[in-house]
Symmetry: C3
Subunit: 278 residues, 3 copies
């Protein structure tokens, strides 16, 4: 793991950085079985990201098996990127089963706000209290009915514009909200908002990098002390690995390959040394 | 962008080459939001190709959201590679919405002719007047009921054998028909047939390269002056990039990676310098 | 093709090794059209593996087209990795059509035993007499109702613990059973059990490597003299290629790329020189 291109200038206490970094190693030890109900574009890449960070992916997403597996899996991701009538039922039943079991899960509201079916679905899913909501600023705004500037998966809004709404969302779910952007933010009720300034623009040129972060949050949740810490650690591991991968890559194709290799290498030491936490 | 292995010997006017090449840069400026209803094998690769060439992919493909998004998206691809009862309805409704809006779209009739459900579907879709039909010779023949030699996605027929049928199709839709093969051809009613001799056999050893061309055509349509020009520019960008990628690759795995890197680099200058237009 | 890291110590007759190796070249000559009804995570990777080994993939998986195509395709894979109500019907109808036609097919019982819908489905599919069943030890045990230690796709049991059950399964289907693990085993009724000790732990860090083996078995079946030989040759080609790829790779991302390149190179000579058959 080489030095990233943007040299970190930590402005947060060292203990905070170290606690975040420690989660990255703990996930490799625990190897959490992580169930994903995700969109059809990113299933393979998501599974490979989870394997690289030490989790065990399981794309059990049907109405018939999803809710049952939600009782078995350590982690759960629900990502509404390509919903239809069939997947809506499966996602709602699985989230309900998960809430009943009192266990963590992560909601990724892809393109919510811009499209009606997924927007209604994501709001219904919110009632099942996701531990972490992870999205870009437009998606976070769309989730609560603010009219953002997003079209499809592109954020038309910046991270800071969504922080108040993110805080309100966190108060409502009792969990954390991770807002992705040029500088990522993680918001929760009883904790200062964290900002992570690692990462590289080429991350937006590979499909599923944001979705992979949602899956990583789902895998980190059963291992981390709080949802806030899980979201921060997953964001840290992904963006520190991305800095390294971007340095080695010649374009988006090789970046995706290098990112998986870097995610398989990234550990507490690399995160502690390179995290630009603000 | 290095010189391709087959040195071009342009036999068409320089202005024609330059007009095609200019579209490649224009797409990067416009960043067209490109909706894809495509097959389950190639969703991720298609999205990555669109990102690499400067478009913004959105795989909004359900019956509930597809037709609505067809009004928002700049470009639209419908690819019948893995259809079932649910996707048939979604594709027909989305194509109808697109035609009503008077906007461009690209039809990719994967394996049409060889299989009944998709053949009937593709013929129904044809009624909604796709701006470009893109397929191999067997698929183009299958679309109008000619019995070709194709089995599945493999062309059993050569490009020249499909040119008359392609011209008849173009007359019927008022758009263009792009026939993929060893030398690609682009056919339209009021324009001479173009042939593009770039490209490499290894393109047939990676799944979804043909499907990616269909998606690129969909993204180039809202930017180019005519469907014929969109199809020619997309074919040019893909095959010039493929020449470069094939030169760098050690096999089909590394070719797919190099192709995405090359597509992210390819521009008007590279196309103008390397296009073998006949 | 360089020497693998685990130098082979063949303990089986040279003629046996050579017969297995010869199938790898024969598949490239025959280019079998291979139909896959597989899970949504691995469709693209599976198609790329089939192309690399010289087969022609066709993911024709709907209820409407699957059974028809089963009469056309040379090979057939049914993998139950992400089943739902719709795919259950399609898989059963396609397997029935294949059995009626008296042709070979491969069943991959992903995560069977751990989840109810796929377990019932896989047992129903077994009635249609798959030529080869390919799974890990937990999946093979789960198929016949033994309570294994598997959770999701991870094997909790070792290969030897499943050999008696595999032999009983082979007797029931009249075909072969391939049990994947650290050392793979291929079991059939009238043939000694073969063990193949090639391969590398990083194969478990890329999603779909096991599923790709199932697809390779499906492609090798119409070419090989017996199901046992098809399973052995597919396992040999994959694991010899994986040894080479693991040597070249820097992590799971580059391993997946190198594996496709190595599969495109692997031939009878490389298998004969490197196979660790026991």
């Amino acid at each position: 793991m080489i030095a990233p291109r943007n040299t970190p200038a930590p402005t947060r206490p060292r203990a905070e950085v170290d606690e975040i970094a420690a989660v990255v190693d703990a996930v490799r030890v625990a190897a959490p079985l992580t169930q994903c109900l995700t969109n059809s574009v990113v299933t393979g890449f998501t599974a490979n990201v989870l394997l690289a960070v030490g989790a065990s992916p399981a794309m059990v997403d049907s109405l018939e098996e999803g809710p049952i597996f939600a009782d078995i899996a350590d982690g759960l991701l629900i990502n509404v990127g390509t919903v239809n009538a069939m997947t809506v039922d499966s996602m709602l039943a699985t989230a309900a089963a998960r809430e009943d079991a009192g266990r963590t899960w992560c909601l990724d509201p892809v393109a919510v706000g811009a499209l009606p079916v997924r927007t209604a679905l994501a709001r219904d899913l919110l009632e099942h209290r996701p531990s972490v909501v992870r999205g870009n600023a437009s998606e976070v705004l769309g989730l609560v009915g603010e009219t953002g500037a997003g079209r499809g998966v592109d954020a038309g809004d910046d991270v800071d514009s969504a922080l108040d709404v993110a805080a309100a969302l966190a108060a409502r779910t009792g969990g954390a909200v991770a807002v992705s952007g040029e500088v990522d933010a993680v918001v929760a009720t009883d904790t200062p908002t964290l900002r992570i300034a690692n990462g590289h623009p080429i991350m937006t040129k590979v499909t599923g990098v944001g979705c992979a972060l949602g899956a990583m949050v789902a895998a980190y949740l059963p291992v981390a002390r709080t949802p806030h810490l899980a979201a921060a650690a997953a964001t840290a591991a992904l963006t520190v690995a991305a800095d390294d991968a971007a340095y080695r890559a010649s374009g988006p194709g090789s970046f995706a390959v290098e990112l998986l290799d870097a995610l398989a290498r990234v550990d507490a030491e690399a995160v502690a040394a390179n995290l630009d936490l603000r």
